[in-house]
């Protein structure tokens, strides 16, 4: 499969400024800090992570909404911003209420991309809009209504219709269903899947809901503090997660089966996510990792370069290994004097956040 989107070592820092006049830069939020990934034509790449891990920032870098601080993004072999890029890459937004202009009619919102790119005559555009509305399961007769007259799910369909108007090749979905009711989520996700099959779309699908990502994604990337910690084909990731963070994340996901849920080992991480203003040195996860070793503080693990299943960890979790707090390994671990816990005086511990 050919690579449609290549992201190479992308960093996005947001400066923090203080002062009334000179706006001196006092710090930087390391929102995305060295992310490399590939998206292949026709696949869905899921990106999961907690709030604040930089997944939405990454999405906005990919769609060109944010200029990157460093690194490169190539779409179809051409650098970001090349001609036609705005047509080929579209975005579906998280908030179905905020992403539609409340003062404009649906027809004109969906026709926006066509008008901006000067496509078709007025009647052609109208036809296309009605065709798109039908495509996403909206009644084309509602052409002249306002966003306030639609439910959340319907509004998200409007956003999808708008994103598809230019026949894009890559659609970046930034938590497209997290603002919707669960019953509506399924409808919208199935719509996205159907559209992918019908139109041959490639998706970058961002979510914090693991089960949603599992359902839609061919491959899944897990982000933590601006980095990708693990990337693997969907089933591999869910069945044999290698990174301790992925293990913890998966153990936190709810399971419908109560028996399975009871049997499952729950890994409870201690502490908070360190501040992205001063991220920890070495492995970003070492401050909370049950398997942390001195090497994790000293050396920043890279994603294993070979294979489909890559994890950025010095000590990947082996299948069958226990990470729970009661396991003997952890007790042994906690006697380690140099492990980067908060009280052990390691550089860049989370307490420095207040700086």
């Amino acid at each position: 499969m050919s690579v449609l989107l290549r992201v190479t070592d992308v960093r996005k820092y947001f400066p923090i400024r203080e002062g009334l006049f000179f706006r001196k830069e006092v710090g930087r939020v390391h929102a995305v800090d060295g992310v490399s990934l590939e998206v292949r034509a026709g696949e869905t790449l899921g990106i999961v992570g907690e709030s604040g891990c930089g997944k939405s920032t990454l999405a906005r870098c990919i769609t060109g909404l944010y200029p990157v601080t460093s690194g490169s993004i190539e779409f179809d072999g051409a650098p970001l911003g090349a001609k036609g890029f705005r047509r080929d890459v579209q975005m579906i937004f998280q908030d179905p209420y905020g992403s539609l202009n409340p003062r404009r009619r649906i027809g004109s919102i969906i026709a926006d991309p066509l008008v901006i790119h000067r496509i078709g005559t007025k009647t052609e555009r109208r036809r296309r809009v009605q065709e798109l509305m039908e495509l996403v399961g909206l009644n084309p007769e509602h052409y002249n209504r306002f966003p306030a007259e639609f439910s959340g799910g319907q509004r998200q369909r409007i956003g999808i219709a708008r994103a598809l108007a230019l026949r894009p090749r890559l659609v970046v979905c930034d938590e497209p269903v997290s603002a919707l009711d669960v019953s509506i989520q399924a409808q919208v996700i199935n719509l996205l899947k159907d559209l992918q099959a019908e139109l041959g779309l490639t998706y970058v699908f961002i979510a914090h809901d693991l089960s949603v990502v599992r359902y839609v994604s061919d491959r899944v990337a897990v982000m933590y503090l601006g980095r990708i910690v693990e990337i693997a084909p969907g089933e591999d990731l869910y069945k044999v997660p290698k990174h301790p963070y992925t293990n913890a994340l998966l153990s936190a996901a709810s399971v419908a089966d109560p028996d399975l849920s009871a049997r499952r080992e729950r890994i409870i991480l201690t502490g908070d996510v360190p501040s992205p203003i001063s991220p920890p040195a070495g492995c970003r996860f070492h401050t909370r990792c049950p398997k942390a070793m001195p090497r994790c503080v000293a050396e920043d693990p890279r994603l294993t370069p070979e294979g489909e299943h890559q994890a950025a960890c010095h000590f990947p979790v082996q299948p069958g290994e226990h990470l729970g707090a009661e396991t003997p390994q952890i007790q042994q671990e906690s006697t380690e004097p140099t492990v980067g816990r908060t009280e052990s005086g390691v550089d860049d511990e989370p307490d420095r956040r207040g700086d």
């Binding site: 909404l65 905020g98 409340p102 991309p113 496509i119 052609e124 209504r145």
Partner: protein
């Protein structure tokens, strides 16, 4: 990509799609406004004043009194004082024996003209400046915001006096002077609103579609500003009318011969003891007009912001 293939693909779309017209926010606002009695009465008063102003020449013809013509023999008493209201002079005559009623109607023309045009000018200018300042931010905002601060801290009456002294009185000058001093208030409101909208997701959506900044401003931000701008503009009209009357009262407004409410009031100072109508009628016109516009502005604000409904009915 062309739309020709889209059109062929769109064969399954019914040829004639019935259009379901949703009630727009404006339609809803209008419905709320029509339920507001004070606003509707005000609208009626404004309509009557506009009608009278438009029909001023007709009344001049009916009474046979040109607004500039002096009638020393019939308009003034033998002692040379202005006569009171009567069948010939409906609201009496002024100190020069001119028909007060006809002059008030012509004065309404000046007041409305100045009020509406200066507000229009201030609104257009204020919206553009405010939107650019708010949307672009950075140094554009810094420069424009400081300019607004300077304008707002100008001693406007002194500047008006200097300008009139330097350039000579006249309606166009007055419109520009009033617009210049009211656009800053509009620009400030628009700037604040624009900053609030700039961070909304639909603006980001427009950018991701490839919309330019100017297009985004006018297509996506502007429709959301119409409500506060309409309210403020309606409230600027009476302010401008009063401003005009003030300037005319001080003899700095329009050409002294042109009838203006402010000038008529200034004229009445020496005679209102013998002929109180000379003071009462123009003052009443001024009060009625500004009150009507203010009440209408309040009504429009309530109508455009349904959340204020509760407040309104509690009164």
């Amino acid at each position: 990509m062309s739309l020709t293939d889209a059109a062929t693909e769109a064969e399954h779309v019914p040829e004639q799609v019935a259009v379901v017209q949703g009630k727009g926010p404006w339609q809803l606002a209008w419905e709320r406004l029509t339920r507001d009695r004070a606003a509707m009465v005000s609208l009626g008063v404004i309509a009557v004043i506009v009608l009278l102003a438009v029909l001023a020449p007709v009344f001049a013809a009916v009474t046979g009194h040109d607004p500039q013509e002096q009638f020393p023999s019939i308009g003034l008493s033998p002692q040379g004082l202005p006569i009171g209201p009567g069948s010939g002079f409906w609201l009496g005559a002024d100190s020069l024996g001119r028909d007060l009623f006809v002059r008030l109607l012509y004065g309404a023309r000046i007041s409305l003209l100045v009020g509406l045009l200066s507000t229009l000018l201030a609104t257009v200018f204020g919206v553009v400046v405010g939107m650019f300042a708010g949307f672009y931010g950075g140094w554009v905002d810094g420069v424009l915001a400081r300019v607004l601060d300077v304008v707002l801290s100008f001693p406007y009456l002194l500047v008006a006096i200097v300008l009139v002294a330097a350039l000579g009185a006249g309606v166009p000058l007055m419109i520009f002077v009033i617009a210049f001093f009211s656009f800053a208030a509009m620009a400030r409101v628009v700037r604040g609103q624009t900053i609030a909208y700039r961070e909304r997701e639909f603006i980001e959506a427009a950018r991701s579609l490839g919309a330019g900044k100017v297009r985004t401003m006018f297509v996506d931000v502007l429709p959301n500003l119409i409500a506060p701008v309409t309210v403020l503009a309606t409230l600027l009209i009476p302010t401008s009318i009063v401003f005009e009357a003030t300037l005319s009262f001080l003899g700095l407004g329009v050409d002294p011969r042109t009838p203006s409410w402010g000038a008529i009031l200034a004229d009445s100072i020496d005679f209102f003891r013998v002929s109180p109508g000379l003071l009462i009628f123009p003052a009443a016109m001024l009060l009625l007009t500004t009150l009507a516009f203010n009440l209408l502005g309040d009504g429009i604000r309530d109508a455009l912001d349904p959340r204020s409904d509760r407040l309104h009915t509690r009164k």
